[in-house]
Symmetry: C2
Subunit: 184 residues, 2 copies
DNA sequence: CATGGCATGTAATGAGTTACATGATTAC
DNA sequence: GTAATCATGTAACTCATTACATGCCATG
């Protein structure tokens, strides 16, 4: 109750999607939320434990796998907590951390060619990500059954819009730098 | 030397721009790098101390302000370290963390109207940021003297491109949701 | 029979924020 | 004279990553 730990609610929310183990939550996150939220096992398992302790989820321990596979289910209390968290506005603008832009910012300390190379590499990475998004989009669109579908697609679309814009930026800046290089 | 601490190099780099105190570095960061790199005093002062201990900067202590204002200058060793850091590719794609998108992802647990409200608020915040970027752009353009100018403008432009794309996304999604609402 | 995927977990470490504490100078 | 800005710094805390450790099950 103390701090608003968004990651806790992310896990709680994912438990409503049919993914009931820590492992499955990680898999789903890596696929779908990956572009705006990441998580490691080092967080997942302690948080699941804590959620169970607070009665937001129940644990069903099977003897299947090694240490006993644990299947989690959200409780009514958990659902209420999730809805409460959702109802809070909170919506700050995304926090971005880009070592690419950080290095670009100090471009005067290196050669123009070095900067151009960096942008080209960045563009390549963006294009790869764009393709990944597109293939995720297709797999989401095939899953008509889920009520989650429209929301999952919208979040993905956000990533697609931004990635397209960033690719455009790369093209424009490369042009600009080529000109700048000629002048010098 | 152990870990590649980008924030350390960000500070080192900013010392080459004519901003020589911890306070001034924070000011400049808040203005210019803010959209892709943030920093707090709790990091700046310890890092400056460490940079001095490693001989990457020199400290000139004046008795001006309270505890003695400290003016930092990058050394040759510091410049070499900065260039070395710059030469490393490293360029991973930006890490984004968006509690807005996280909540949107779980939209099925709330009403469509609530989702629409969230997007409208997000759009408002984006528009505000867009205006901020535009005014920073103008102040950078007036500063023709600096060799940093072109690079600073490019990083800013990245933010402008992305923000424009995100605003477009808001408009498109609001339209989509209004339709979705009618259907239901 | 060995590789890869499924599955859970902890300890150490790192990164970063927040709150607090202090005090000088400048502008109104 | 008082409020804002300039200026430095620390301690406690939160959040997250990384490396490690374990072991089952299915496929080739």
């Amino acid at each position: 109750m103390t701090a608003r730990k968004d990651t806790t609610y992310a896990i709680l929310g994912l438990l409503t999607t049919g993914h009931q183990t820590g492992y499955a939550i990680k898999q789903l996150m890596d696929q779908s939320l990956n572009h705006f939220w990441k998580i490691s096992y080092g967080q997942i398992y302690p948080i699941l434990k804590q959620l169970a302790a607070n009665g937001l989820v129940t644990v069903e321990e099977t003897t299947e796998a090694g240490r006993g596979k644990k299947i989690y289910h959200i409780t009514e209390k958990g659902k209420a907590a999730l809805r409460h968290w959702l109802s809070e506005p909170a919506c700050d603008l995304p926090t971005v951390k880009s070592d690419f832009l950080l290095k670009l910012f100090f471009g005067k300390h290196e050669s123009i060619s070095a900067t151009i190379t960096k942008i080209r590499q960045h563009e390549k990475a963006l294009q790869k990500r764009y393709q990944t998004y597109r293939s995720i989009e297709i797999s989401i669109q095939n899953d008509h059954a889920s009520e989650d579908q429209i929301y999952w697609q919208m979040t993905l679309e956000y990533g697609i819009y931004e990635t397209k814009a960033a690719i455009k930026w790369c093209k424009d800046m490369l042009e600009k730098l080529e000109e700048f290089k000629k002048e010098a």
